[in-house]
Structure formats: structure tokens, C-alpha cells
């Protein structure tokens, strides 16, 4: 018996798979969904009345931030330091910690399910996945072929986050290398270690911004992260960090 649920929240859809449902776990699932909406109400940059929006628009002071927002900003600062500034909670000059919050929200869902006794569940927050138990099989969407997969990853406690701009269309090629300037259509980070989704997702955002060469090099230096890079030309090979094939099916 498997419980599945999909919930529209945070401008996307969160999908849940619970392999060991029970009344307590089902109750936790309801609480988790409510928690997601509460997180959205506080952190959404698209809701004028959210705490993040009020601060971004100067209607409220950062110094008066709630303890929850203050803690999120602390975590964001850690990732900003880890990524040499490639991740920022001010991506366009205004406060917007979404790059951390979505993965963090998934972590909280998993924590609630674990507290209720579940040891086998998988939560997908709009394309960023954290799984508990397993083995789980996580597909990586192929940006060139909607509905198809570029890779399948398998393992226990898998965490998979993808950054990409599939909508961006044609790229200008660098005549010297034949590659697009940033050279990335999507970048997927995978971990099964202690790294959790918020950190993995934020690192994926940062490494994508770095571009193919630097992003792969940087990820290769992180002991608990592996990367799959899909380049903007389908004729170009996919690239991955040296340990990526541990996860590939």
C-alpha cells in the first residue's frame, strides 16, 4: 500500500510518496501540507503580505525579522560563503531566499513524516527531491525531450536537486570553444550523504550560475555532492563529476 499526494503550493506542486502509510503518517501528511502553506505565507516573494515581501519593499526592518526568517538568512549566508557568493538570498538585489526555502520546506515535510514513524517516503518539491529509506529511483528530466529522462539515479536516502532554464532557447556559441558561454542547460546535484535538500538545492543554483566548467569543478571539490551537467546542444555529451556514476542506473 502506497500513499501518494500532490499539493499545489509555492507556485509549484509538491508530490509525496509514502511507502509505509499509517493513520499517524497520514495525519502527519496533512500537517505537512499545512506547514507548506504556512511557509509560503511567510516566505513567498510573490505575496505582498508575506514577511519577505514586506522587508523587500521596505515596509518592515530586517532587524525585526521573525526568528524563523532570521535562521533562514543565517543558513543562506553559510551557503553564500560556501559558494563564494554564487548563491545569494538577494538574487536580484532584493530579499528573496526562495533558493533555500523550497528545499528547506521539503526537509520539514520529511521530518514531520519521520516523527510520525515513516521510514520510507519521498518528497518532490517542484523538481527537487528528498527521499528517506529506499532504495528509490529518481529520474532526471531531459530538457531536450519533455516527458523523457536524461538519467535515472538509484539509492537510499537520495537527495536530488536540479537547476536549469529549459525555456531559454537558442544560445550564442563561443567561437573558440563551440560551447555556449555558460554552457549549461541544466545541472543536477545528487547526494546520499548528510547533505540535505536545502543545501543541495542552493548549491545546484550556485553551480548552475557558475557555468559548466566552474560548476563541475566546484562540485567535484565538495565531498558529498556529485553533478550531472546537460549542455545546451544535444549533440554535446552530458558531463558528470567523477563519482556521479555511483548513482546512475
Amino acid at each position: 500500500m502506497i500513499t501518494r499526494h500532490a499539493e499545489q503550493v509555492m507556485g509549484t506542486v509538491f508530490s509525496f510518496v509514502v511507502r509505509d502509510p499509517s493513520p499517524a503518517v497520514d495525519e502527519a501528511l496533512h500537517a505537512a501540507v499545512a506547514r507548506l502553506h504556512a511557509i509560503d505565507a511567510r516566505f513567498s516573494p510573490y505575496r505582498a503580505d508575506s514577511e519577505v515581501s514586506r522587508i523587500a519593499h521596505g515596509e518592515s526592518e530586517l532587524a525585526d525579522a521573525s526568528p524563523e526568517l532570521a535562521e533562514v538568512l543565517e543558513r543562506c549566508a553559510e551557503i553564500e560563503a560556501l559558494t563564494d557568493g554564487w548563491f545569494s538570498p538577494y538574487p536580484e538585489g532584493r530579499l528573496d531566499p526562495s533558493g533555500w526555502v523550497k528545499g528547506w520546506a521539503v526537509e520539514q515535510v520529511c521530518a514531520l513524516l519521520c516523527e510520525a514513524g515513516s521510514t520510507e517516503h519521498c518528497v518532490n518539491g517542484g523538481g527537487d527531491v528528498q527521499s528517506v529509506g529506499g532504495p528509490w529511483r529518481i529520474g532526471v528530466a531531459d530538457p531536450f525531450r519533455p516527458g523523457a529522462l536524461a538519467a535515472v539515479l538509484a539509492g537510499r536516502d537520495l537527495v536530488v536537486a536540479t537547476s536549469g532554464t529549459a525555456e531559454r532557447g537558442a544560445h550564442i556559441l563561443d567561437p573558440r570553444t563551440g560551447e555556449a558561454p555558460t554552457g549549461l542547460l541544466s545541472l543536477t546535484l545528487v547526494s546520499s550523504g548528510p547533505a540535505r535538500l536545502a543545501r543541495t538545492d542552493a548549491c545546484a543554483t550556485a553551480a548552475f550560475a557558475m557555468g559548466a566548467e566552474q560548476g563541475l569543478a566546484w562540485t567535484g571539490r565538495q565531498p558529498d555532492l556529485e553533478a550531472l551537467a546537460i549542455l545546451p546542444d544535444p549533440a554535446l555529451p552530458k558531463r558528470a563529476t567523477s563519482g556521479f556514476l555511483r548513482y546512475a542506473v
Binding site: 528509490w136 529511483r137 532526471v140 523523457a148 555529451p237 563529476t241 567523477s242 556514476l245
Partner: protein
């Protein structure tokens, strides 16, 4: 340029996994690439595919014996016990300019169900000039959602509208029926 080819003893050579090592900022992927090819029967077993996700992909039962490839191996060197229905083939170690590379594949039902990299160059993580592989060909046959038995899909964040056309949506619907 050094190039080596290992062919495993799997049945018909159909699927080829090309695993090439590429220096940082290098030219084309094949320039210095050692190539490991693993043969396998690719006979298709997946069913119909209209919405891409119904059918076997939706049952979520990836831990059953139909998916031996999902064995919990998190380490390249960790041996995994195959189920009785699958066979393992271990290629010879290929000595590349960066160190030895060796892969093992599990074949189940005539298809590659798992690829383990048993050995890869230790120094690669430390060598900032050699930090990534090029993966020219992955097993396309294994990558249709129907045969992949996946539980979730990772991709660039979709909007609520985009979700309705996504593979994840198809998985969810299959499971919610």
C-alpha cells in the same frame, strides 16, 4: 591519445555505455577518451506510452524484484548482491591516463539494470584539471519512464501550469488512480 575498449560477456551487443574522461576545459570529449563498452540485449519490454508515466512506472513498487537495479549501493566499490534473476558482468580494469577504471553491469531480463563503477581514478576529486566525465551515451532504453520504474522526477522547477504536463504529474496521476 590512449584508447581502450572492454567488452563484457553480456549477450547481444546493443547498448553501449561510453564512459570518457575529459580534462578540464579540454576539446572534444573523444580526444583523450578511454571507452568502455558494455554489451547487452536491448530488446524492448516497455508497454504503451501515451502519457509517459502510466503503467509500470506508476506502481511505485521499485523495491520489488522487478527492479534489482535499485539495490542500495551508495559506494562505487561496495559489492551488491544481485537477485537470482539478474547476472553481473565485470569488465576488465582499463588503465587510463588518469588511473584505472572498471565497471560492472547487472543484466536483468536482457537489459542493463545497473552499472557500478568499481574503480575510478582516486586523484580525480583532488585534481582540479580533471574533474568530470563526459557521458556521451547513456542507456536510452533504460531511460523511458515506463521501463525505468521511477518514483519521482527531478528537473528545473516547474510552475503549477507546467506541472500538469510534467512526467511527475503523470507519475502522481498513475499512483492516485
Amino acid at each position: 591519445m590512449r584508447r581502450a575498449i572492454v567488452t563484457t560477456t553480456a549477450t547481444a551487443a546493443g547498448v553501449v555505455l561510453l564512459l570518457s574522461l575529459k580534462p578540464h576545459g579540454g576539446q572534444s570529449a573523444s580526444a583523450q577518451a578511454p571507452v568502455i563498452s558494455s554489451g547487452s540485449d536491448t530488446s524492448s519490454t516497455s508497454g504503451t506510452s501515451d502519457t509517459g508515466g502510466t503503467g509500470s512506472a506508476g506502481n511505485g513498487d521499485a523495491s520489488s524484484t522487478t527492479a534489482p537495479s535499485a539495490a542500495p549501493s551508495g559506494k562505487a566499490g561496495g559489492s551488491s548482491s544481485s537477485t537470482s534473476k539478474s547476472s553481473s558482468y565485470t569488465g576488465q580494469a582499463v588503465d587510463t591516463r588518469y588511473g584505472p577504471v572498471q565497471v560492472r553491469i547487472d543484466v536483468s531480463g536482457g537489459k542493463i539494470s545497473k552499472i557500478d563503477v568499481l574503480q575510478y581514478p582516486d586523484g580525480m576529486q583532488r585534481d582540479q584539471d580533471i574533474n568530470s566525465y563526459a557521458l556521451p551515451v547513456l542507456n536510452q532504453e533504460a531511460l523511458s519512464a515506463q521501463s525505468a520504474q521511477i518514483d519521482a522526477v527531478s528537473g528545473a522547477t516547474y510552475t503549477s501550469d507546467g506541472y500538469t504536463q510534467s512526467l511527475q504529474s503523470a507519475l502522481d496521476q498513475a499512483g492516485l488512480k
